[in-house]
Point group: C2
Chain length 313, copies 2
């Protein structure tokens, strides 16, 4: 029996020590620890990586600090439109939703799409009707109202900036790509990956990023790796980032680290694609690369201490 | 100066000689010829592959026989929800829309997303607001009403079958994956690809297939190839089909034909993914592989006769 491991992220971007108070930094680290604990509770009992990924992401979605689920940013119309995706490396099955509102846990809805429909990707109003059919948990608008997020919307509207998901603090001209994700390897050697996001503050026009797109923001294949991305989605979509890492391993014989370096630190940088990802291969190697200034991230192996980090170090 | 070439498809599936009258077969071949002519008119004047792909697909979208634009199939609610994507191999720029209604030419709206927004993929109501902003051409519901498509909806509703886009004729238990697409190489050596679809008859829940997803249904990269897919979208999404062909060429040194054979005739067949694709590499090699019984397809090189085909032969 192999042992298990899990890694998570809470978004990448301009995250500087100078812009986080010690209290806030502590809150972020606690949120990461809580999510790792949630995922690990599944894995240590012999549960599947798929369930562990879901449970870790539910914990991150329920956390108001992170841009997914409860803490999802506001769209231009003052709503929340969330995207999520989950993929099982065992059989390449996958489920995803784009542009859903009032769904408490988009990651669980993605899993329902995978397990209870013939489809892979459901969007908008139709996805909400599916959510009703499978009795997904809904929450009223108030649940998703986080003052910090609303202030971000007002600020973004002032400057008509669509793309910015401002971090709090002084450096308001900096960007943060709020997304959460998890990858896990279970005791049966199966990989899974999931991603969930509230998108970009002040976004218009039903913009969809890379998070719900298999091969772009999320991918898992037992033969290679499990990946969850966070960054400037448009560049991740055009670069088919997650599947590119898998292909470099499968077709070119790269190690996970070589593939991550090539895609995140070279290819993405060349086209201006800021962000990062978490990656895990079938042998339990974990990489947490990012080309931005920081990425909320954590990892844990069975019988070892949890690792959490925020800045580049 | 290289010379140009173009290839198009009008969908794959159970297309048997026994189920098409000679008149209907002739109509399909004429529709293919008209689209090739439209694309070629751009290429022979030294225009870009991007414009040629758009123009060929506009011709296919305006044709009621094909499941895209005017001939888009009916959703469960009696509406038309269309998806499209276009990608430029020169700089990997791309644009896509999912779940748009009443837009005459979704392929042109995709191009507007690429050229007039900061985004890559817009979905649903938001995408329609963007269409209004860029003055996209809208048509009333009547424009999209094609009796044959409506009969297909009634038939699909009888059996509550979601996935079937029935071909007319006797064999109503057969499936056809209605999608149109084009790939082109222009005289400057630039590749482009585009895909447009009306989805599946009687579809529910805002289902999105592979067509608007970069790397799955559509991909173009001057370094490798241009691809447009048609088939059972869920399998194409999970297999990241279009980018897989590009990666097999780039990372494993496969020829276009070897890559197409591997993906369409081996990998897709193994997971039950019925369909096909059109593929064109930077040297002007064209492949039109499919693992279904037929695929409406055509290709043309500068200074040669047009090739059109429907069945496996």
């Amino acid at each position: 029996m192999k042992d298990y491991c899990i890694a998570i992220h809470g978004g990448a971007g301009t995250i500087l020590k100078s812009s986080l108070t010690p209290e806030l930094e502590n809150s972020y680290r606690n949120a990461l620890k809580k999510a790792i604990d949630a995922g690990e509770s599944i894995l240590k009992d012999g549960g599947t990586s798929l369930d562990a990924v879901e449970k870790a992401i539910i914990s991150l979605e329920d956390e108001p600090l992170l841009n997914a689920g409860r803490g999802a940013v506001f769209t231009n119309e003052g709503k929340h439109e969330m995207d999520a995706c989950i993929m099982n490396g065992l059989d390449l099955s996958a489920g995803a939703v784009a542009g859903v509102s009032n769904v408490r846990n988009p990651i669980s809805l993605s899993k329902a799409v995978m397990q209870q429909s013939e489809h892979v990707l459901l969007a908008g109003q139709g996805a909400m009707r599916f959510a009703e059919k499978v009795n997904a948990k809904f929450e009223k608008d108030e649940y998703f109202f986080v003052q910090m997020r609303y202030d971000q919307l007002l600020k973004a509207k002032e400057t008509d900036s669509i793309l910015l998901d401002h971090t709090q603090g002084e450096k308001n001209n900096k960007t943060k790509f709020g997304t959460v994700g998890a990858v896990a390897l279970d005791r049966n050697g199966n990989l899974a990956a999931g991603t969930s996001t509230g998108g970009m503050t002040n976004k218009k026009y039903g913009r969809v990023g890379d998070s719900p797109v298999i091969g772009a923001g999320t991918y898992a294949n037992n033969a290679t790796c499990a990946i969850s991305c966070t960054g400037h989605g448009e560049f991740f979509l055009r670069s088919v980032v997650a599947y590119d890492i898998s292909c470099l391993m499968e077709y070119k014989g790269f190690t996970l680290k070589q593939a991550c370096d090539k895609v995140v630190m070279d290819k993405l940088v060349k086209i201006g694609g800021e962000g990062g990802l978490i990656a895990l291969d079938k042998n339990g190697n974990i990489e947490l690369p990012f080309n931005s200034e920081g990425m909320y991230r954590a990892k844990k192996y069975a019988n070892s201490e949890i690792f959490t980090a925020i800045y580049s170090d």
